[in-house]
């Protein structure tokens, strides 16, 4: 059972990774937890900057930012996880990810490091878990004694409330 899921995650990784980036993750911190996303999806990391609010958006969509002339949406990951608000500070970062050609900024408490998490060290998310964030979890990565929560970007950015927004596109 576990074996099967593992293979699945390997397949997924192979799909999106080039050789050098395989199993490489960018980790960032929100509250007490460390989260990780596949490095291949990351375009760049910028410091927090003025966000312009856009009306009629779900509350985790903070608005838009100016990324060197490109206007891209900024998602507050804290809000997405329905965690309590926290003032942005000097360590707050925007991780710009590429989602099928669309750039989206993720506002996170702080960016930690780039880690290699071999697929053997990844276990599927615990089946019994409460809390909204579990919906976005693709697996748990063990790095030494620490555990990093691997996020599923597609779900993080597109699922649920976002679907209603997505359906408005075009």
């Amino acid at each position: 059972m576990i074996e099967e899921t593992r293979r699945l995650s390997i397949d997924e990784l192979e799909e999106e990774d080039e050789d050098t980036q395989r199993n490489q993750y960018l980790t960032f911190r929100i509250g007490p937890e460390d989260f990780a996303i596949a490095i291949s999806a990351v375009v760049e990391i910028v410091g927090i900057q003025p966000v312009t609010e856009v009306p009629d958006m779900p509350d985790f969509v903070r608005g838009v930012i100016n990324l060197r002339g490109r206007v891209i949406p900024a998602i507050d990951v804290r809000k997405r996880f329905e965690m309590t608000d926290r003032e942005y500070d000097a360590r707050t970062c925007i991780v710009v990810v590429d989602l099928g050609g669309t750039a989206v900024g993720l506002i996170v408490d702080t960016v930690s490091e780039v880690l290699s998490i071999p697929s053997e060290a990844v276990t599927p998310p615990p089946s019994v878990q409460r809390g909204r964030q579990s919906r976005f979890v693709r697996g748990m990565g063990r790095v030494g004694d620490a555990v990093k929560i691997l996020l599923d970007l597609d779900k993080l950015l597109l699922e649920d409330e976002q679907q209603s927004v997505a359906s408005l596109q075009n």
């Binding site: 009306p55 002339g69 989602l99 927004v165 359906s167």
Partner: protein
């Protein structure tokens, strides 16, 4: 060389070079990967075959001969002929080098007879057995001139007439192995867009010829040239069905343009040609889509053309017509010279020669690249403003610095202008369609119509042009169908029987104005009012409305005044669609009319969709950009100007008008500085005759805004049409004034 041949030759040279450029690396790798199998060889052979056809088409026998030999050599290789790659490769590269030499001569219009021997030699080497080759040294080919001496005289005699009387077209009729199954999809879109232009040109010529039969030969010649080039392209691409139909059209045009006197039975011939053009267009579209053109698609046009050709022959006013397609093309310089005694066509010929001589150089560029360029320039302008407006720099009092800043600003503004102009295209593309439309309509409706096009050269942004074509067609259709009276009615009203429709474009203060004007019966105010009341668009008698307001009703959805529903102008889905399309462009419409004297529709459109003049307003911490075009005035209302209706809608009385108020801070849920209207500012906006006052804290100023779309990820946001980046790098939302007016009308401002 005649202009049309020169044009063909240029196309041929360019395209051949492109193909050779693509082929050479493939051929070079022959030796390195023999294991690749016959596939690549086969496809290379096919491509060479394609070029060979084209060469035959433009009468380049030597090129054709070489390529044919090379192609069959490749086929041999593909079939596994025992030839060492080290032997084969120099033969091929020498041959290609020679082709390039020939192309260069052709381009420079220099005689290439001295290369004949080299060509022969290269061809012979292809036929030689694979193991024993003449030393495959580079000198083998280019230096063959020594051998040429013995044969040169004969060759020159052979070659000279070839230059003078080019393309024997039969060669194209018997093409090499079917070139059409080479992946044509790659070239097809470019082919289609080029051909589209040629067909449009031909159509213009035809319609002009029909307009003025006495001087038809010139426009016919124009059409002939276009079709001739088109046919050449089709041959080059190996689209036999298209080529065949265009060949017949060409034959007919050839007769027509050489007719000595006005040609009796002109109309059926032109009708057949127009129909053929339509079919060719259909075929083209199909070709662009699938890369192939089914013959049966084009078949319906052939009989009419054949018949017209036969009739044209019978009329006998045509000069002795050369029988074959080859002859018709080859003989064409002679008659046109004879005709050139009329000074007009001589001048025209000269103009053509000159145009070809000046070698205007166009390159085709991916629109996305252009957009990227325009975006980057926009960013540069923003970055420049950020730097020059930076407090650290603004505080410096250094003359040389401020001079440098001034220069930087000027250059970046110039750069922006140039970048924007790259995307500008003349309106003539959209205008030309109207000629055909008017022609067809006037025949169908039995009305005499004269269409005048003015200001065709006016340029607009490409995206604007795309959205303008349909509304224009609609308006002209309306003008001819509903605007103009029948000839007998016109006569009775003391007007000339021929109705006039004028389409005119011109620049006016940052906008382009397009007028569609007819001299028909004009709008009937009473009927519009009656209809509006009937349709429930209007309450009361409508007596108090101004003419303008009455005419604006025509643009309401579901309104049509035509008594009978005609199959041409539809069923009342007309004007509101036109208005919607124009609004999408950020433009507006205006209707003027005088009963009995005609109607004018004025379309206001922005020059570009990429930049607007904006007014920056502040609401709390948010800064919004309003399109300046929509703004009428801005004022701080006195408390007594404000009235609140029982349902809570605030209304400001400005002079004698009552204007509903939209509180931006409520729409966008911001915390404003001022909650009472007389402390802030009301920006009065107007779109399509609807007015509202947008309430903001203050006006920050005016600036050019480079429009950026909201990310597709966000989808649509209410009341927002896009965003722009301010001088300090922050993003400002551009407000959709039309949508905000909608809010004002529904009263749902909260």
């Amino acid at each position: 060389m005649t202009p049309e041949d020169r044009e063909l030759t240029t196309i041929f040279v360019t395209e051949t070079r492109e193909i050779l450029d693509g082929l050479e690396p493939q051929l070079a790798s022959l030796s390195s990967k023999p294991e690749a199998g016959p596939g690549p060889l086969q496809s290379a052979a096919e491509q060479l075959g394609l070029v060979r056809n084209a060469a035959a088409n433009v009468g380049q026998k030597k090129v054709a001969r070489l390529l044919e030999a090379a192609a069959s050599f490749l086929v041999q290789l593909a079939e596994g002929a025992p030839i060492e790659a080290s032997v084969a490769q120099p033969r091929l590269s020498d041959a290609i080098g020679l082709v390039r030499q020939l192309l260069a001569r052709l381009e420079a219009e220099r005689d290439d007879a001295d290369l004949e021997e080299q060509v022969e030699q290269a061809c012979r080497r292809f036929d030689a057995p694979g193991d024993s080759d003449a030393p495959p040294s580079p000198e083998a080919t280019p230096l063959a001139a020594t051998g040429a001496e013995e044969r040169a005289p004969a060759d020159q005699a052979d070659a000279a007439p070839e230059e003078a009387a080019p393309p024997p077209v039969q060669e194209a009729a018997a093409p090499l192995p079917p070139s059409s199954d080479l992946d044509p999809l790659e070239l097809a879109p470019q082919f289609a867009s080029e051909s589209e232009e040629l067909l449009a040109k031909a159509e213009t010529g035809l319609l002009a010829a029909e307009e003025d039969p006495a001087r038809a030969s010139e426009p016919f010649a124009e059409a002939f040239r276009a079709i001739h080039s088109f046919k050449g392209n089709c041959g080059f691409m190996g689209y036999a069905p298209l080529e065949q139909v265009s060949h017949r059209a060409e034959t007919l045009l050839d007769i027509l343009r050489n007719a000595q006197q006005p040609f009796p039975g002109l109309s059926p011939a032109v009708a057949a040609l127009l129909k053929a053009l339509d079919l060719l267009r259909t075929g083209l579209a199909e070709t662009a889509r699938t890369g192939h053109c089914p013959a049966e698609l084009l078949a319906p046009g052939v009989p009419a053309l054949e018949q017209a050709i036969a009739e044209a022959h019978n009329v006998g006013s045509a000069p002795a017509l050369p029988s074959g397609p080859a002859a018709s093309a080859a003989a064409q310089p002679a008659p046109s010279r004879a005709e050139a005694s009329s000074s007009a066509s001589a001048v025209e010929d000269a103009a053509h020669a000159q145009a070809a001589g000046a070698q205007r150089q166009d390159i085709r560029v991916d629109v996305q690249k252009l957009d990227r360029l325009v975006n980057l320039v926009g960013e540069l302008v923003i970055a420049e403003a950020m730097v020059t407006g930076h407090p650290a720099i603004a505080g410096l009092d250094e003359e040389s610095l401020s001079r440098a800043i001034h220069l930087l600003r000027r250059v970046s503004l110039d750069l922006q202008d140039v970048a924007m102009s790259v995307r500008m295209v003349p309106l003539s593309g959209a205008f030309r369609k109207l000629v055909r439309l008017t022609h067809d309509l006037s025949q169908k409706l039995g009305k005499k119509v004269r269409l005048d096009l003015l200001g065709e050269e006016t340029e607009v942004d490409k995206s604007v042009l795309e959205h303008l074509a349909d509304p224009l067609i609609h308006l002209v259709r309306n003008a001819v169908d509903h605007g103009l009276e029948r000839p007998e009615d016109r006569a009775r009203a003391g007007k000339s029987e021929e109705g006039r429709v004028t389409v005119e474009a011109r620049h006016e203060g940052g906008e382009v104005l397009v007028f569609v004007e007819d001299d028909g019966r004009g709008l009937d105010r009473d009927r519009i009012v009656a209809k509006a009341i009937e349709r429930g668009l209007l309450q009361g008698s409508g007596d108090k409305l101004t003419d303008e307001q009455v005419y604006a009703l025509v643009f309401e959805p579901g309104f049509s005044t035509a008594n009978e529903v005609s199959d041409i102008s539809g069923r009342g889905v007309g004007m509101d669609v036109v208005r919607k399309n124009i609004q999408k462009l950020g433009g507006s419409l205006e209707l003027r009319s005088r009963t009995g004297a005609g109607t004018t529709v004025v379309i206001h459109i922005p020059l570009t969709l990429a930049i607007i003049d904006g007014m920056l307003v502040r609401v709390g911490h948010a800064r919004f950009t309003l399109p300046l075009l929509a703004i009428r005035e801005a004022l701080r209302p006195a408390p007594e100007q404000i009235t609140v209706t029982p349902d809570g809608q605030e209304v400001a009385r400005v002079r004698d008008r009552l204007i509903p108020v939209v509180r931006l801070h409520e729409v966008f849920r911001r915390k404003p500085d001022h909650a009472s209207l007389h402390h802030g500012i009301l920006v009065i906006v107007e779109v399509n005759g609807h007015t509202a006052g947008l309430f903001a804290d203050e006006i920050l100023g005016q600036q050019q805004a480079v429009i950026k779309g909201l990310s597709g990820y966000l989808g649509k946001a209410r009341g927002v049409s896009g965003c722009t980046i301010l001088g300090d790098g922050e993003v400002s939302l551009i407000l959709d004034v039309g949508a905000l007016l909608g809010l004002a009308q529904s009263g749902a401002t909260a």
